[in-house]
Structure formats: C-alpha cells, structure tokens
Assembly symmetry: D2
Homo-oligomer: 387 residues x 4
C-alpha cells in the first residue's frame, strides 16, 4: 500500500502549477546568455514545449505569458494551447525594457511616461480578455541606484495612483497581483521591495488586488514561510513565483538550493488553507541558464509535487500535541519525519496508475522531442528576454 | 555666520531624544558581561546618570524605563527625575525573562501564561499612569528555535487577541508601540519579525497603536530609510529605537557603523514630516558593552543631532530639480554635499550660545562626575539585565 | 537487504563524533538562560550525561572539555570517563571571560595580559597531558566593537607571536586547532574572522597547527562545503564544530536548519578523504537553549550519521559521468537521489544488529535516566557558561 | 592655510587610479542595457573619454583594457593614448563569453577547452608586451549553478595547473593578479569565491602572482578592511577594483553606498603601507548603468581622492595612545574626526594651484565634450559587454 493515503492523493490529484513561457526561451546573466538548440522562436513554440511538461507530469495545465515578449494573435495562441491540452494563464506586464522607463514607469516623475506604463497594463488586460486569463501580474522593476536619485515618498504615492487606474479597469473575475522584490535591477532602492509594501499597496486598492510572493525575492535569512503564513492569514496571498536561490535572485529550479525551506513553505500553505485554493496560484518563475529547459521545468513541477506530498504527510495531530506540551524535540521530530520520508516511489506509482510513465524525466528523454525540436527549429531568432 | 540657517537651528532647537535607563547599567553578550566602576545600582542612579547627558547636550530630556528592571516607587522616581531636570518617558515591558515565558508569552499556547503576560502589560500601564508616560513599548522576544516547534499561525492569532486586551486598557492619551525584530533571542522564527507584521498587527488594533522601528532589527541589506518613508506615509511610525550594527543586533552607538545610513534615515524623516513631530518619538536603544556608558550616551545624542543637521542642509529644491530631470549624478551630488558638510563647529557655537560647553564629551570628562560615582557607588549589585 | 552496502556500513561503523561537555550545561542568549531539572553541577555529571549519548548511539566515544569551566582533578575525571565507556577529548581554552581580556587576550596591547593568556594555554596543554587529549582548540573571541578602537594589523602580528609561543609547547602528538568566527562577541572586527586568516596563521606555525571549521561561523550565503573542500585540499582541516544556524551563530542542532547543506558538507568530506581520517576530528558545538540536552545531543549525532550515510550513497561513478558530459540535470539528480533516500530504517537495523535499540531517542526516554538525574541533582549550582 | 599638510598633499600628489575602458561603454543588468548618446564605438574612443577624466582630475593617468572587447592594433592604441596624455594599463582577460566556457574555462573538465582558455591568457600576455602593461588580471567567472553539477575539488586542482601554465609565460616585470568573487555569474559555487582561495592559489604560483580585491565581491557584512590589512600583511595585495554596492556586485560608484567603509579601507591601506606603493594598484571597476559615464568616472576618482585625504588626516599618534589605553570612545573619536572633516575645499585649492578647475564635474560639463561626442559619434555599434 502506498505511504500516501487516499486523502493525500486526492490533494495531489488537484494540484496544478503554472509554467512561465519565458522559461523555455534563453536566459542568462548580464555577462552572457547561452543559446541552446531547439529553443523556441515564438510563443507558439513555447506553448508546445510547455505542453510537454504537462504531458509527462499532469501537473502543469496552464502557461503564463509575458507581454510584449509573447505578443501574437492571442485567439490563435489560445486555440493552439487548447489543442495541445493546456491553457493560457497569468499575463505578466513589462515596464523595464523601454528606454522611457529608465527612471521608472508607474512611479515616473513624468505623467506622460506614467500614462504610457498604465496604458501598457490596460493593453495587458485586453490580452487577458482575449486569452481568458484571470490574473495580471505586475513585477515592479522600478527603483534607483544612488541615494538622492529618486524621491522615495513621491514615487510611492504615484505608484498608488497608477495602480488605482489599472485596478479600475479589471473585470469582475480578474485580479491584479503585485510582486515584491528585494533588489535588482535597481540597487539602492526598489519601489516594492518587501511584502509589507506590496500588502499596503494592494490593500489600498481593493479585494481584487493581491500579493505575489516570489521565493527568491527576499533578504538573506528571511523566514519566507512566516510571510506565507501571514499573507494567508491576512487573506492577501494571491500567487507564488516558485524558484530557488543561494544568494540573490538566482531563479534556479524550485527546491534545488534549500529543499527543506520549500518543505516549510508548503507546510504553511497547507496549514493556512492555501493548497488547491483558487485564490492562491502556484507558478514557476525560473531561468534555465545552464541546464536543459524542458527537463528543467519537469524537474521543477516534480519538486513541488514531491515536497507537497511530504508536507501533507506531517502528522498534524502529533505535531499539535508536541507543540502544546512544549516538547521541542518531539515537535521537530514529527516535522522532520515527513521531510525525510521518501515519497518518490509512491508518486511514481501514482503516475503509472494514471497511465503515465513512472519517471517523467526519462520518459521525456526517450520521447525524441528534444531531438525533434533541435532539428526542426533552425533559423529565426531564438526567444529570450530581449534585454 | 553659521552654516546652519535660523530655520535649521529652530528645528534643532526642538529636537529631543529619549534615553534608555538600561544603557546606564551593565550589558554584554552571552559570553560575558563586563562591569565598570560607578555603574548604577538602582533606577534612581540611572536617572542621575541620564540627567548628565541632558545637562551637557540639552538633547535628552526624557528617560525610558524597563519593567521590571526599574521597579520602584514611581512617584519618588518621577520627583527625583524632575529635580534633576528630566522626565520619565516610555515604559518598556519584558516578556522574556520569566521561566513561564520559555515558549512564548502573549503568544503562548497556554491561556494562563498569556494572561500572565497580559497582566504584566496592564501593570505597565499602571506604571505609565504613575509616571505620566505616554507610550507603552512592546518588544516581542517570542519565537521558536526549530521548525515544527511552534504553530506560527496560531501564535499570530493569539498575539492579536492578547494585544487587543492590552490596547483596550490604554488611556485616551496613551499609545502602544510594537517593535519588530528580525531574529534573537529566537533563531528560527520571531513572532513580529518585520515591519509588515507589526504594521498589520497595530492596524488591527486602532489609532493608538503604532510601529516602533529599531534600526538594528533588519535583515542584511535592508533599505531602512525606505521603511521609514513607508511607515510615515501610512501614518504608523510611532517611534525609533536608534542604534547601529555591523552584522546582527549589535546595539552599538547610533551612527557608529554606517553614518551615511543614519543620514539617509533622517532625511526621510524630514521628507515625511517626522522631525519634531510628537507622533514620532526618537529614542536610543543601545548597549555600551566595552565603552564608557555616560559618554557613550552623550556621543549618541550628538551623533543624532549632527546627522539631523546635515540632513536639514540638503538643498531640497535643487534635489527636486535634479530628480525631475533624471540627472542622477546631480541629485546624488546635492545629497552628498549635505552629508559631507562639517556641521560640528556650528553646533559647538550653538551650544556655547546657550551657555553650554562647546564640547560635551570634554565637559563631562572634566566635570568629575565619573570619578565621583566610581567612588560613591561601592557595594550593592550593579544594574544589568538580570539575564 | 539493507540499502546500505557493506562498504558504506564499514565506513559508518568507524564514525565517531566528539561531544562538548558544555552542551550538557545550561546556555542561552544575552536575554535569558533557562535552567532545567537534572542539569549537571560539575564535569563528572557532564561526562555521565555524555556517556548516555554514546550508550544509545555508539557514535560518541569522546567528550571535549572547556577550561576553566571543567576544572577538576583530571586524573579522576579520566578514570570516571573510562568507567562510563568514554574518553576525554579536545581541550578548549577560554580567553573571553576574564576581566583582563576585555580588549583582547592573545592580541592585547599589553604584553602582561598577552602572557597571561599564553600561560592559560600552556596550562591547557598541561591538562591535555593529564587527560591524554590530542587537540588544543583555540576559539579566539577577540576583536573590537568600534572602528578605530583597535589596531587590526598590530593585533594580527601579536596573535602570531602568541600562537608561536603556545605552539612551541605542544607535544609531538599534540595539535593546535584554530577556530575562526565571523562575528560575536565582538561586532566590528574579529581577529580570526574567516578561514583564510586561520589558514594563514596556522600555516605560519607548522604542521601541528590546523584550522577548525565551525559550521555556524560564516557570513550569510557562504558556500561552506567549498571551504571544506579547500581546507582538505590544502591539508589544513583539523576539525569540525558541527551545529546549524538560520541567521547568526545560533548553535542549533546540526542539520536542523539546512539539512541539505549538511549533506553537501559531508559529501565534500568524503570526496576529499576526510571521513574517518584521524586528521579531521568531528565535534559538536551546540547550545540546547530550549530543548532537552541529552536527547538534543542524541539527535545531533544521529543527524550526522544519517547524513553521512546519505552522502556515502551518492553514485560517484554516475556523478562523474554526468559532470564530465556537462549534463547538469543528470548530475544534480544523482546527487539528490542520495539526499532523498530514506536511510533511517537501514540505520535502525544496523543499531539492532549491534544490540542497541532501533530508536535511540525512544530508548533514552524509556530508560528513566532523565527522571533519575532530575531527582538526584538537587542543590548546588547548575553548570553553565559563567558569563 | 589648508587643512591638508604638505605631507598629506605630497601623498595625494602621487596618487593614481586606473580607469576601466569598459566603464565608458554601455552596461546594465540581465533585464536591460540602456544606451546613451556619445557612447564610444571602439577602444580609441574609450581612451579619448578616459583622457577627459585625467584632464580634469590629474588622478587617472592609465586605462585598463579588456580582451577581447578592446581588440585592435595595440601599437596604434598605445600611441593614441600617449597623444592624449594617458597610458595603457592592466590587461583583463575574459573566459565567460565563449560558448565553450559554459561549464568552465581554466577549470573545465575537457583539457582542450582548458588549453583554449590558457591560450587566451597567453594572447593577453602578448597584448601586455605590446601595450607595455605590467598586470594581467584574471577574474574567474567560473562555477556551477546546482549542487552536484561540478566536482569542486577537481576544478580547484585544474585551476592550479592552468594558472601555472599562464604564470610561466609572464615576463620578469609582469604580474598576474587573481580576483575573487563571492557569486555571479555562477550561483551555487564560484571557483575563486574568497580571498583565502585567491591567496592559496597565488601563493602556490610564486612572487609575481598577487590577489586582486574587488570591493563589491564579498558576502553581506564582511569586514573588507580586515582583508585589506591581512593581504598587505601577507604581502599579497596586488590591486584593488574599487566600486560600491548595497546588496550584490552592484558596481556602483566607489564610495557611493557606504562612504565610511571606503574610509576604513583607505585607512588600512595607509596603515599597511599600501598607499602609493607600486605593488598595490588602485583601479576602478564600475558600471554606469543609469548615470553619465564620463562624469561618473570623474566623481569616482574624486571620491577616492577625497577619502584618501580624510584617511591621511587621522591623528595616528592620538589614535595609538587611545588604543593602548583601552579608551574606546577616544579612539573612535580620533577616527571619526578625520572622517567628518570636510576636505573638499582644500582639494579644490590644490587643483587650482595646479592650474586645474576647482570643480572637475562643472569643468567637464562646461567643456562641451559631452555634446561633441553625442553629435560626432553617430552610427556604428556602441561599445558594451557583448553579453
């Protein structure tokens, strides 16, 4: 019998993780972007690659788009996705690559540039209407590099005004999720640097505005699961951008750098009612700078699934008993027992029971898809960030 | 003519910085507390030492107390303070030194222990009534050391309930300020680890609850002046605990570790209307582990004064012009010009114009006070943290 | 059949981890030290407690002492230890608790104080002669809190001179291991803050001087396994002080904060020939501030054993093949497969095969020892750090 | 009379700071590189811009080149530089932008790729012969992103072998300086992550190999001036790459983020005999992502000069007296007095006494050079990193 109970399996059955279209394009550092054979040249090819991840894992039914990187005929793209068994998801805006935005976009001193950035977001909402997407995700890359360069307070006020104008345009079933980030690309100050700022800003907008938590966007030593707990408690956790990091915003495969941290995060998600809760979207936001992209995404969703399974295995009654009695070691033991349990064989069984291969990484490698796209996708310009 | 304009001098004239009574007692690390000759044995002697700081600087008219470390007859203490030209200020509670609080106080699983901690705070409000203090400062030392040890979410909810009971008891002119701290004494999680949590908790209480920002309580690399700006903008910055640090909560003399950071903080205070604003209390919270205590406090208030003067010297019009035109270097130059201006001679003049010595450190050293207390305070138990 | 091959089991069979006598005494933070029933009052009781850890795990045959905390008749103590089935191990010196050392010991400006500190170390070598210990461990708690306070360069030169005098006194089979620490108790500078400084200092002494790596003594984000690799490569890794930390030198149970980091460290130990290598001592250096002490030590040595087993399971040939072919995901998968393998049942079997209980934590709890010492050890002063 | 004594002025007179040619080209983050009018299109135009910095400051007589970014006819370039009053300086190699180097260069598993990287360095030495440069600077951008991806130990050994081959080719008056960097572009491990590793590697090569310290390449909280002190003490500080940072390797203008840190670094340089010592090269390594480039470099060299002047003002005798007597506050006061002294008017006088404009920033702005290059440099491809 599986170590995963029917209840646990039912939870896992419902799990879905959104893939970022840009993970299938090239990415890198300011020093170098390495290209790879078979990299998509357009959004249609990105969707095709994303569909492979879902095919082998049954975990990734939706794909997030980035505007303008994924500009195309969205009716066609939606049809293309559905034909491949996936759907279009969150729409991500971009206010960091236009020359006008060198000193800010939604926060810029110049009203005309602010309006341009607002209009970009309204255009993104048009895209959402076309794609059937629910969420508009705003990562605010704005900030300054030198003390004195910017008026921190004025920018915060202008940010509120700009967000308000975007918020007003949202449909009844649409949401705005505001991502925070500790630093980069700005080095001295970032206009939404922490969860507190994102929380204050979205609270001032209304119920359709939520916080997006990217697991790589915190200061060293930050207890991220505490923030997860708090945002769930405050009813404002809108989505996750999963990835992992050792030092900065490394955008590595989720769970790769500190698997135990991912376990603790998922435990708080479950504890706070955030698992399989439509209000809390699970997304990846990663860069496969040196590893293969499609297998990198497969590994990522498997990591989230495996760690969710481990977190679901925590004996909550035993944990509560130990916590209430102040038995530190007993409580920690209950917690670690779940983490150290090897759920991989049971998940392989689960996949087989659904007609999938036990080992998605091997199945993908054996499928010949990688060789096919490497052979087919010759010529054109490989997709990337256009930085 | 002084480089400090009459307007700047008028602002400096109003400045007052509260001293912590515990800075005059012994403190140290978990490895060692070094004692020094002349260290106070009781709150009366601490107040006497604090009065010396005010005498030589005219900057420190109030003294914060810590309960139970400063338990005594508060009517007598108030009279004693007034006789020495100072007043009693903020009352600090203590929920980290009773054996019952090993696993929490206001957040404890056990309702009886929570009530004990609440009662302690109600007793502190009684003290406030006796001392005429406005602010009850709560630093929540609670947390856990091991993942699984504590129910993060449950503790947060219990914290709210406990704070609510304390808040209700506040008088019309009294306030509760909630301090946040990144880590220590708990190592895995802290119940109020960041400004966002403190903000969410005090917002749920009401207008008399505010956030206390201790400059040493942040993760590495945190932009503290941004938080100052944000809390002022949200109307929730209740007080500062000034000190400085290189790595952790070092509690060094304010401005000693990163003077430019102090400048940036004070600039945002001024920019956001927080200077000489009764809603925003300036306090020190420091430990003089290896340096002399009274001179350490004198140096501290002088550091705040000098840096306030520099921040007041920023040419705000020129700064705005440069910011609006995107001239990064010009804006930074305006900012740095103020920082690099040597205000010390002008402040020495200002002191002399008020009948004080130009050099408070020298004046104190020459006063013979240190020799006197070293000679007089023989026997008894030197004050410390009682850890 | 066990997942642990005979080769792996043979390696595990040889593993030994030294316990610190001070882990059985009370410890805490600068804010509070909580006492617990049954805490030892003298070194003899500490050794008795340490023997319990070895009894239930067969992993901890030696106990490190701290001078002067463990001063006693060392002939008696050695006999006492042997009667209980353990031996005395590393001798730790203390240059941070004497009032003379407020501004340094081996680095002090005053030659008389330096000599006092040197003499203390010579006395420690006398203790080593009496206890039969091989290693003198020097953790240099010296440093300064304020820029300008100390002459960094002069202190470094004096440190060399002082160490030279201690080194000269070592017996042929004795060693000096020099521990480095990022910060605390000094906050601005520490005289041996990093492995580079320790390496430079011990290299200048000679072959009997080595570096001690405490896993909690690094800056945020430091790749500790890299340092392990480098020191092994340079032939200068003398010993480990194992513990874990979230933020600073938390001294938590090894493996508790970041189990994957412990795995990576042990993998590099194995890769570099440091496992069961007499030159590389495995020690714990932890504080059980809130959890039970003896079970805390049992958990600790089990954590090291379990993670060593996982690291031994890495398929080195497969890893090398993947590394050589630049297959990032395959290499990472080989690595993670070992980490995620649940070795606990196999280790339980191994214990049973040696006549021990499968579950050392349960066996200790059931033994009644804790109740016995709580009842017996009444009166006297509980051991602690004497801070 | 100037506050700068003749001795101080004589030291300042000798100061020279090398400029990086790449600071005059475009740079940015992985998200965006903003171009600016007038940006050089080739090394000749970079040299012309660099000469402007020297013209207005008399501080920057040499320019470092980066190979292959600055490949050209070096005889012509040398002549061009001399005509403009500057000289060619350090040659920087590049092993991070060739597709072959995705998994390493000097450390690669494949001997053929290692040889390619070695050959690149030998070609750089050929360039040095042509340019008359003394120093070959190697920043090793190599590392890995995922645990298990790379054999840390094997790479370190291969690094030694590769460096040895390069070292052997150095001329009698040439040097190799090895830069270390905490992280980026690799995220999990970097092959030369800290000064200890660079020191161990260059020590194994010989006297012509030295360490390069980039002030932005350390973990959070690292005491950089301590490393400066230690490397000077060990005789292995070959050069500085000056810049500043708030969080990661931000490459901001030196002194911009933490001016007091720059002061402390320069104090240790002076204390350790590193000022105007030919063995210790002062260089900038910065990116002007959002500010003007030529004025950015002018500001940078002025910052170094001003802070050197402040550090030279420290009353070393008074400092020593305070340090020897354990008077923490007195020592700190001596130190801070120098930092807070406004040396800018005296340096303006010094410039005027040498026939330069008092305000180099204003003089450059008034010169019309910026307008001229903006008008002239039309067409072609603006120089950048070619990432």
């Amino acid at each position: 019998m599986s170590i995963l109970t029917p209840t646990v399996l039912a939870d896992l059955e419902k799990q879905s993780i959104e893939l970022p279209s840009w993970a299938f394009g090239n990415s890198g550092t300011r020093f170098k972007v390495f290209g790879t054979p078979g990299t998509p040249r357009d959004p249609f090819e990105k969707i095709a690659d994303a569909a492979q991840v879902h095919k082998h894992t049954a975990l990734a039914p939706t794909v997030a788009l980035h505007i303008p990187w994924d500009m195309c005929d969205f009716g066609d793209l939606r049809k293309h996705a559905e034909d491949l068994g996936v759907e279009l998801g969150t729409i991500n805006s971009n206010t960091f690559q236009d020359d006008d935005y060198k000193f800010g976009a939604l926060t810029h001193e110049d009203a005309a540039i602010r309006q341009k950035a607002i209009d970009h977001h309204l255009a993104c909402i048009d895209v959402m209407d076309a794609t059937g997407s629910r969420d508009l995700k705003i990562w605010l890359a704005e900030g300054s590099n030198y003390p004195g360069q910017a008026d921190l307070r004025g920018r915060q006020d202008r940010l509120h005004e700009s967000l308000q104008k975007i918020y007003t345009r949202l449909g009844d079933d649409q949401r705005l999720v505001l991502e925070y980030k500790f630093f980069e690309p700005a080095f001295y100050h970032t206009d939404v640097p922490d969860w507190g700022t994102s929380y204050a800003q979205v609270s001032a907008l209304g119920e359709k505005a939520m916080v997006c938590l990217d697991t790589g966007h915190h200061a060293p030593g930050t207890n991220i699961e505490f923030i997860v707990m708090q945002l769930l408690r405050l009813g404002k956790l809108g989505s996750f951008d999963f990835n992992s990091r050792f030092y900065a915003d490394d955008d590595l495969i989720v769970g790769a750098a500190d698997p135990f941290q991912l376990f603790r995060i998922l435990f708080e998600v479950i504890r706070g009612g955030g698992l399989n809760n439509p209000d809390v979207a699970f997304m990846l936001d990663q860069c496969h700078n040196v590893e293969d992209k499609i297998p990198g995404q497969i590994r990522s969703v498997l990591n989230v699934q495996e760690m969710t399974a481990r977190a679901l295995l925590v004996d909550r009654d035993a944990l509560t008993t130990a916590q209430k009695s102040g038995d530190v070691l007993a409580a920690n033991t209950v917690f670690m027992d779940a983490f150290y349990t090897d759920v991989r064989p049971a998940l392989a069984e689960w996949r087989e029971s659904r007609g999938m291969d036990a080992d998605p990484m091997a199945a993908y490698a054996a499928s010949g898809y990688q060789q096919k796209i490497a052979a087919d996708r010759v010529g054109g310009v490989q997709a990337g960030w256009g930085a």
